[in-house]
Point group: C2
Chain length 344, copies 2
Amino acid sequence: MNSDPRASARRRATGRVTLADVAQAAGVSPITVSRALRGERAVDPELVERVRAAATRLGYVPDPAARALASQRGTHVAVLIPLLSNTLFVDLIEALQHTLRPAGYQALIGITHYNPSEEEQLLREQLMHRPAGLIVTGRSHSPAAQALIDASGVPCVHVMETIDAPGVHSVGFSQKAAGAAVVRHLIERGRRRIAFAGAQLDARTLQRLEGWREALGEAGLHDARLEWLNPAPSSMALGARLLEQILAMKPAVDAIFFCNDDLAQGALLAAQRLRLAVPKRLAIVGFNDLTGSDQMVPALTTVRTPRGEIGQRAAQMLLTLMRGGTPPERCVDVGFELVVRESS
Amino acid sequence: MNSDPRASARRRATGRVTLADVAQAAGVSPITVSRALRGERAVDPELVERVRAAATRLGYVPDPAARALASQRGTHVAVLIPLLSNTLFVDLIEALQHTLRPAGYQALIGITHYNPSEEEQLLREQLMHRPAGLIVTGRSHSPAAQALIDASGVPCVHVMETIDAPGVHSVGFSQKAAGAAVVRHLIERGRRRIAFAGAQLDARTLQRLEGWREALGEAGLHDARLEWLNPAPSSMALGARLLEQILAMKPAVDAIFFCNDDLAQGALLAAQRLRLAVPKRLAIVGFNDLTGSDQMVPALTTVRTPRGEIGQRAAQMLLTLMRGGTPPERCVDVGFELVVRESS
DNA sequence: CTGAAAGCGCTTACAG
DNA sequence: CTGAAAGCGCTTACAG
């Protein structure tokens, strides 16, 4: 409560207000200030109050670099996603930041482009910066990447898929079950020749394919020639091309399940150019319920994937892990929702 | 050149290889290692070689936190953009990272949602982390934000617009000229009642509007009732709604310039539902050449904005600034390109 | 061109 | 529940 500025806030050469300044102003030791401000360990409530007041009065702002150096742990969370051009991941990022920022963590975004070696390289870079936590899309691609994560000891949550393995934390949904749900819906509507059109062929696409296979198999409708797999990146243009290829099949298909909405949107537009009646002659279903799918003509049937909820719950789980706690569940399934519109 | 591991790399408690270890192995002082590795100041080439070799041999990795603490400057660049859901900014981010990462900088992305107070809040947070540099979309919205930037002394480059003001660095193009170019194209094609449909109403949208006004004014075709401005976020659904509203006008319009491609795409789909002949009865032009615009039926005429080049050149300019240099130009104009397709 | 000293601002054990 | 000491790993002036 000293009002002499020289005594209450003796500044360093940098002009910055430090922990020591706050300690002096509050009449306690620096370490007590540190503990009081972080809420770590038990500190006399009255002291906490005094410290808080002094910190506010002096305009104290902790230095993340000093904290990181002393604690050997940064204040940011590294987030590895395949792409930013799929709005799926944009929604995920927004949700993550929404939960992480108020807790004092910055998200550092790394884009892997679905490339295992880029993922590994990014992981190496990010880990060098000692992140407090890690969010990774799906299972790591290369064993080397997984080894890096394990060796780092940095808490990690995998998102988008449910991964039920010891020591692995994940938030997502069953991509396979979602794929199967699409097929069952189409069968219910009387479709018999249901093609699967996949691009990129990343792990999750293949899991949806697995669901497609299983559901068709159970109905006795599976035919391997109905699998159209293209490793090129997913895009509207590719969807248009896939549609044309699949239409050339004999016997004709009566439905196509595209592994992502952008493909399905492109196919819908191509169908228009070809004057192909959707859903009358051909049903089209997408995946992810991306922007614009509800605007298409006809509106696209798809699977709504709760990436907002995934981001939020993954962030919460990571927060628990970073504080040294144990999350209630190691593998959280947030489910999915089939959105039936006009195209099926 | 000591091969005794104990002597050549005496580890700290953390097990980390430090500058001191490298110094000892190379037989020089730590500060010389620091300088040799950073390429700062003149160091005897032979020593540099020895230091490099020792660092490689020991697997030395600099600690960003320690560097940040000692130098009072972080190793990351804060990037402020309005949204990630407009792929425009995704392309920008990718280009920025592509140039920044090899130079050893990490991009920290802040999303302002076109909200000045969020921008200010983010700026405050980011600045607290002492970024090495700053990338901001357009002119800062609030004077307070600009003041924060100026006071911080952190090098800053503004992107997307050309801002020709003293002390301001920018890379972009003239949004106004681009808006005018669209209008001139439509006039050339014989259109006379050309509406402007804008959403979000951010600074750059208003600059395009300015170009629209000017070009129409010069042709004696301006009519204030042709301005349709909606502050809601840009989306396909809003584009559809705007189209319907504008179609109700009397006398009828014969062209609409949408300030962003997603609006135009939505309008194109709505036109299909309404069985409105585009471009015969109505020309539609968008802006930014986003994903899918070339796939629309009819394909969308738009303005291709070189965000990849903007990102790359802005990063280079910032790199120069961060190294204490002076970029050759303070305001770089990368231009734009009218892409005439089928909808106009 | 090179180095010894001091310091950046915080936190981690270790005591009490 | 609180604190004195040491240290995290680097860089900034200041000398020479």
